[in-house]
């Protein structure tokens, strides 16, 4: 009943269940690298497109496990009453959330690796070792705000609706945040909208890692993301306490 032991068991159970759900595994792991291979490498018009898109597709890759793992997972477990039984059991909320977070980060890493491999071997992306690592770390951390968004969706929606809403949020964040197409190619109105979307700021932070020539206000983007994450965390904590 030590917390570390509970967390270990909880994470094992969460990973096992996730691995047994092909409808979760396939889109979250395959979509990012397939999309990146097609749009970032095969169809890219040379120059540094493959490098630019690696930064943004990395954010895309971690969004899937975070938004779907938390959003659909929590909605289902809440709806089935499983979460009530957990709250009655002598297991702290930290182990439930912690296990989900570790699982999300693991799947986020698994989604990132093939994207990076495609970038390096097929896309001829060449970066100093430190930049590869910093980029990977940035992408992994990007899973945190998306996990909180997933958690909030899971509390707000029933499981059926959560699948639909998670998809809309996932695709909306990808498109409007400029993860597929650079934001500079969008009309002005959409560039304004992007300011309110976490994926935009995370993409800008990631881009600043690989491209130090273009001036970017990294401090501002980091500040916005930290503020968004803090607000999301407070909302998630309130939603947890408000459970019926």
């Amino acid at each position: 009943m030590k917390l570390s032991n509970i967390l270990l068991h909880e994470t094992g159970a969460e990973m096992t269940a996730s691995l047994r759900a092909p409808e979760f595994i396939f889109p979250t792991l395959a979509l990012p690298c397939v999309f990146y291979a097609i749009f970032g490498v095969l169809l890219s018009r040379g120059g540094n497109a493959a490098t630019y898109l690696l930064a943004t597709y990395g954010v895309f890759a971690v969004m899937g496990p975070a938004i779907f793992g938390f959003g659909v997972g929590v909605a289902t477990e809440r709806e089935k009453g499983w979460l009530s039984l957990k709250r009655v059991a002598p297991a702290p909320a930290a182990s439930y959330i912690g296990a989900k977070l570790i699982t999300t980060l693991t799947f986020a890493a698994l989604a990132l690796v093939p994207v990076y491999l495609i970038a390096g071997f097929l896309g001829d992306v060449a970066l100093p070792r430190a930049q590869w690592l910093t980029l990977f770390g940035t992408h992994l951390l990007a899973a945190l705000p998306f996990s909180l968004i997933g958690l909030l969706l899971g509390f707000r929606f029933a499981s059926g609706a959560a699948v639909a809403v998670s998809n809309i949020v996932f695709l909306g964040f990808a498109l409007l945040g400029g993860l597929w197409i650079p934001i500079s190619m969008f009309p002005g109105v959409m560039q304004t909208i992007a300011q309110a979307i976490p994926s935009f700021h995370l993409a800008e932070i990631s881009l600043s890692v690989i491209d130090t020539n273009t001036p970017r206000n990294v401090g501002l983007h980091v500040g916005v993301i930290l503020a968004m994450t803090a607000v999301l965390a407070l909302l998630a904590a309130a939603a947890w306490r408000r459970q019926p």
Binding site: H9, A17, K80, G81, W82, L85, V88, A89, P244
Partner: protein, 299 residues
């Protein structure tokens, strides 16, 4: 906190309203350690709200509940509980054995997973994914999860709904054995024979209030009287005038009288109706007592 004189559950003046319905009104009850206590009541009587309050899932508007002297919902209280709730499903993609292993990590002195699999009769499907199990098998897995922590208090909300006769008896045997070993069991049930067969004590809730709290036999006696069932030629008004008659029900050719004075009513009946046939005389069942009690409380 394990002192035997501390009540397993002590509820004081609990009130809880949801919008415009009063789910609990001034509910005070103390359940001793080692008892099997059945909560009876119709749907909406407040049974599940009471249990959820004792578990800390629902916060009462007024009053408080303690579990072995600890506040309901606190970690210390939850460590002593094993719980089987209604309308709760476990994650689909894990097996019973995986669920039990996970839950056993929550407790300081968990039972052996294999032993619980045997006890709850899960052999044969312990390694199948929960999703693939039948309704009755799922209930048994949920029951086993309630047992894995070797809890001092077991909450069973409708434990045998959806179970066939054999599976129900397995649950009953387990409940009795655990109670013999000192576990306190609090159960709700729709099956009055279940309460009658298992419970040391029956608490009847109606409309959020406790309307009876006693042993099964005392509750039967509290309603009291004698049921006389027969085929009779006498009309309604004559039957009403017989000694002590409280209610008369007719179904088909049989008439059932509930009377406070069985001997006198029977004598009068035999005397006035020489054609009387198909006569049975017995004490009301718990079910009949229960229906009498809850109807009385609503008027």
């Amino acid at each position: 906190m394990n002192h035997p004189t501390i009540p397993a559950i002590a509820a004081r003046a609990l009130h809880k309203s949801f919008k415009d319905t009063h789910a609990l009104r001034d509910v005070s009850v103390s359940i001793e350690q080692g008892q099997i206590c059945a909560l009876l009541g119709k749907n909406g009587a407040g049974k599940t709200t009471f249990i959820k309050t004792a578990l800390g899932l629902v916060t009462a508007d007024r009053g408080d509940v303690q579990v072995l002297g600890e506040p309901a919902g606190s970690l210390a209280a939850r460590r002593e509980l094993g719980v089987m709730l209604q309308d709760v499903d476990l994650p689909d993609l894990l097996s019973a054995r995986e669920h039990l292993t996970l839950f056993s990590s929550y407790y300081a002195r968990p039972a052996d997973v294999e032993a619980v699999i045997q006890m709850a009769d899960l052999e044969g499907f312990a390694d199948q994914r929960y999703k693939t199990l039948s309704g009755g098998q799922k209930r048994r897995v949920q029951f086993s999860v309630a047992l894995i922590g070797q809890p001092k208090i077991l909450f069973l909300d409708e434990p045998t709904t959806g179970l066939d006769g054999d599976a129900r008896r397995t649950v009953w045997d387990n409940v009795r054995r655990l109670a013999d070993g000192g576990t306190t069991v609090i159960l709700t049930t729709h099956y009055l024979e279940e309460a009658d067969a298992l419970a040391d004590r029956i608490v009847v809730l109606s409309d959020g209030r406790i309307i009876a709290d006693d042993s099964a036999s005392n509750i039967r006696n509290q309603v009291g009287g004698t049921l006389i069932r027969c085929e009779t030629a006498l009309d309604q008004s004559t039957l009403t005038s017989l000694p002590g008659v409280k209610t008369i029900e007719t179904s088909g050719r049989l008439t059932t009288l509930l009377t406070d004075d069985g001997n006198a009513a029977l004598g009068a009946l035999l005397q006035r109706d020489p054609t009387l046939g198909d006569l049975t005389v017995r004490k009301p069942s718990l079910e009949e007592a229960f229906s009498e009690l809850t109807q009385g409380a609503q008027h």
